[in-house]
Amino acid sequence: MYLSLNWLREFTPYEGSAEDLADRLTMLGLEVEEILRPFAHLKDIVVGRVLERRPHPQADRLSLCRVDIGQVHTLPIVCGAPNVAQGQLVAVARPGAALSDGKEIRQTEIRGETSRGMICSEAELGLGEDSEGIMVLDGHFLLGRSLLKIYDLDDHVLNISVTPNRGDCLSMLGLAREVAVEFNLPLNIPSARPEAWVVEEGASCADNVTITIDDPDLCPLYQAGIIQGITIGPSPRWMRHRLLAIGQRPISNVVDVTNYILMEWGQPLHAFDRALLAGERIRVARAREGQSFTTLDGRERRLLATDLLIWDAEKPVALAGVMGGANSEVTRTTTDVLLECAVFNPICIRKTSRRLGLTSEASYRFERGVDQPGSRLAMNRALALIRETAGGKMMRGVAASEPRSWQAPRIIFRPTRAQKILGVALAPEFCRQKLEALGCDVNAEDAQAWRVLPPGFRLDLEREADLIEEVGRCHGLDRIPATLPKTARSLDWLESLAPDTDFRGKIKRWALGCGLTEVINYSFISSQDLTLMGLDREPVIALRNPLSEDQNVLRPMLAPGLLQSVRQNMTQGNATLRLFETAVIFLSDLAAETGAREPSRLGLALTGNRYPEAWPWPAEEVDFTDIKGCVEHLLGHLRLPEAVYVPLAEHPLCLPCAAVSLGGENAGWVGRVKPHLADYCHIRRGLFLAELDLNLLQRLCGHGRSAFRALPKFPPVRRDMTLIAPLDLAYSRVLETIRAQAVDLLRESILVDRFLPEGQQEARLTLRLTYRHNERSLTNEEVDQTHHGLCNSLTTLLPVRFS
């Protein structure tokens, strides 16, 4: 909302600076975003008189003028406008002056003739649309005076961000009321001008139009006024300037008046060309489902039965509260006008405006609520202004239907409650004075519980809390003291806290220590990516209104996001990546309250160098053992038992791929990304991914409780064995077989070497077995005996032999 200080001063005598006003309004909850000087460029535009005009010797369309700007020397100016004439008072831009578009005027030579300035059009000065001819000034002005002075355009305009609850501040009057309250100034509300309010001019308006309202909920008040015999033309200069100052384009006297009243009172109006209305009837009724209607912007709109229309005796003529119809628009030839001043249901207007993507100054205000009691005043003022600017005869009175009058809510205001909420004691007299200045009717007979009636323009004041906010706001929220609350807490509350954040913190600390870099990807990905990644077989959760096709489904796995991160880094030339992400994924679950489960996942991605690219590290590339090592390291970090890794033949993203299983539960997977997806990520080398179920890990960690085990008292004895095994024998089978022997003394078996002799289909696996007795030292003999026994069992149970 733009607030013109000149306009404001019509209502309240604010004499301070624009900057101070901006600060105070901001601290009152009306945030001023910028201070504009819309006509500042007119400072250097001065009044001049055309003393002489003769044709340019070299160009038919140009004139040579001599212009007097009240100085000793007159200015020679070459002018291209057809309407320039001797004797005219004109607006002159001297060399050095700037036009509204910022273009600076210089002394030039045009076809051999010197031109020391420019005679300006309205468009060039930002004072109107007219660019055909120069602006001719009507009236008597001193030569050389600035246009800023003669038209009183030295204005400041504040651009104010008005919160959605403050519909009343979408008008000069509403803002003036706030200024008056803040600065303790009087507020002068303009009334309809009695001298223009000639009631004898014609028939009664109510006799000439019948108003029917189908549903009072949707339209509690409809007023119509009629003026006949008007002349459509430009509105007076002062009105055009006011509108221009706040960014409104002047159109014609009648339309400008409706805009002027909208800006001044916050009451939207609509003017119909009465000649285009059929019958002498106005009906406010819903649209027919599927009906089409052309709004005055020329666009055809398809309507629903929930949309509200204004109908004449035959047809719809306006989309109520949003935009008029093209079929009844005021044009240059209009002579009779029917002026609508109504109140519409905010929700109804909002639904229509949102659905059609059609927001107007009118709908914006109706959505936020307009002042029903005040709309009669606005109507009267509008009619008076139309008559003043467009002439004509006004029918007597105003036709009105008000099936539902506005009732102020009765609010109890307790000063003690205000103190309790605000944490500061405000004097009752202060509260009362401010509430009254804001327009409330205050009855403080009961000093503990005042009865307050808010005004019709403050639809946001409904409850005591709203009034407490008002007195707090007037006192200044920034002047309330700062204290620390005593935070009492209950024991059962503490126990119910979710430790998820803590667990994720633990995972993140592990990853940090592991030399992984955290990434955060969008939760949405494209359905195309899902297809590319073969993830489209499961039902995914799709957005109904995505911003783009790139982000239209929620990811059912972290991997697609990680692959995006890899891809983006590759395009930047970051070829070695060690990434991790912790986030929830989204799985459809119709039984869940929100239709989805959001399990927590950890994703890992490795590619490029195994070690930092620096001496003394060897230059090696990561392979499967690196990503699996990360997974093992994490499980070890969490002191979880060893996982089982089983080949997964059917994984959408990875091949080879292994399922990670913990105590029989699926904890995730780890693998090498398939070549076509690696290509998609611009990777030629290996790219390895892992994804783990953090909820499961957290559950298995059991709130992170670790148990102490006594340290062994007796020394271990170690024995190595080297098995010669066929290549297709999984190492896990060797381990399982060893464990299955349940050898009492065996404490640990570690693979210390794996050697693949060239040209043979066999692997040499060297295992180091640790034996220990808990109660005594072992003798070499008994270890040897046990060890050999184990070796013999292996050769019988597995296709292995010993060298």
Binding site: T483, T487, R489, G513, L543, Q572, N574, A614
Partner: protein, 362 residues
């Protein structure tokens, strides 16, 4: 031939005849001379073989022992042992010297400026770092962490927060919908509702998380991070909110930061306020070295969070008696704090995940 042969024989005989004890004594200075020349372990070994080897000088002298008179033999034998010990001692000393030299030489080549075998550096995303910092500030003020789903119901995200359908304030939060009734949460405020539905006051909690709005341009990303905080008890006032947030701002931005409370509007709080802090770049003056400050756009203030006293309608929606309980709530954008703290200019960098960017912070 015979003459020369006899010469040799005579010479040997004479040597032996002379005095083996004397010969033995001569070995020591000879060895000392040889050792001075020995510069390496190989040379030292050669010297050892020359003197103490099976066919060395000592062995040569000792081989003449049987020719001596019987009474002379013990003395010479004893002498020989002494010399042998001495020789061994000299050799050992020489070996020790050589080792010392070697070590010294090695030390002189030691170059600690060569790189160490340093492992990969890990890094946490700036959003994680700032979230942790903010949460720990509030945890130290007595707030507990809570979490909730990112996919929400209309009830938790809007209705219970005093945002009925078709409320104009829903415009402030352009929403991604999944179904008519479910959506991606547009703020972390549903956590207020969920927590209050689950628990009775007193409660003080903080809820960090991802939120989503249907908006994407230079200053908006469709996903970002918020931290919601709220405290409910029987006697909580706006002054307590001011105190809590002032303490928080001083923790995060330093004790000299000025905090400003400006009235605003949120449907779920009443009164509502926006909190500005003095611009850390220009110190609140609006200008940096006579140039307009680009961070605060010359206002001297930076908007940092929204807050207010929990609206009675929210209490009613969760079944609390709004006459009995009062409370405050606040919400802040993590990206915004991270940008201010780290001096990051471009919001979109947070989710491009360029490792050169995300690994800059600690």
């Amino acid at each position: 031939m015979s003459a020369s042969g006899s010469d040799l024989g005579v010479g040997l005989a004479r040597d032996l005849a002379q005095d083996p004890a004397q010969d033995l004594d001569a070995l020591v200075p000879e060895l000392e001379a040889s050792l001075t020349a020995a510069g390496s372990e190989q040379e030292l070994e050669a010297v050892r073989v020359q003197f103490l080897g099976r066919k060395g000088r000592l062995a040569g002298i000792m081989s003449g022992l049987p020719k001596l008179a019987l009474d002379q033999r013990p003395a010479v034998g004893q002498k020989a042992n002494q010399v042998k010990t001495k020789l061994q001692e000299l050799l050992d000393q020489c070996l020790a010297r050589l080792e010392r030299d070697k070590e010294r030489a090695a030390l002189s080549r030691f170059d600690p400026s060569l790189p160490g075998r340093s492992a990969w550096q890990g890094s946490l995303h700036p959003i994680t770092l700032i979230t942790q910092e903010i949460c720990s500030a509030f945890v130290s003020l007595g707030f507990d962490l809570v979490e909730g789903p990112e996919l929400e119901t209309d009830f938790h995200n809007f209705e219970a927060l005093n945002l009925p359908p078709d409320h104009p304030a829903r415009d402030m939060q352009d929403t991604f919908y999944i179904t008519e009734n479910t959506l991606l949460r547009t703020h972390t405020s549903p956590l207020q509702v969920r927590t209050m539905l689950r628990k009775r006051p007193p409660l003080a909690a903080i809820a960090p998380g991802k939120v989503y709005r249907r908006d994407s341009d230079l200053t908006h990303t469709p996903m970002f991070h918020q931290i919601e905080g709220f405290l409910v008890d029987t006697d909580v006032s706006l002054a307590d909110l001011r105190g809590t947030l002032t303490a928080f701002v001083h923790r995060i931005f330093g004790p000299d930061t000025v905090v400003r409370f400006r009235p605003s509007f949120f449907p779920f709080t009443e009164p509502s306020a926006e909190v500005d802090i003095s611009c850390m770049l220009c110190g609140g003056t609006g200008n940096c070295a006579a140039a307009p400050c680009r961070v605060c756009k010359q206002t001297g203030w930076l908007e940092i969070l929204g807050c207010g006293m929990i609206d009675p309608a929210v209490f009613t929606a969760v079944g609390y008696d709004p006459e009995h309980y009062t409370g405050f709530a606040f919400g802040l954008g993590v990206e915004r704090v991270a940008m201010l703290k780290y001096g990051i200019g471009d919001l979109r960098m947070f989710f491009e995940n360029d490792v050169r960017f995300v690994s800059q912070f600690a």
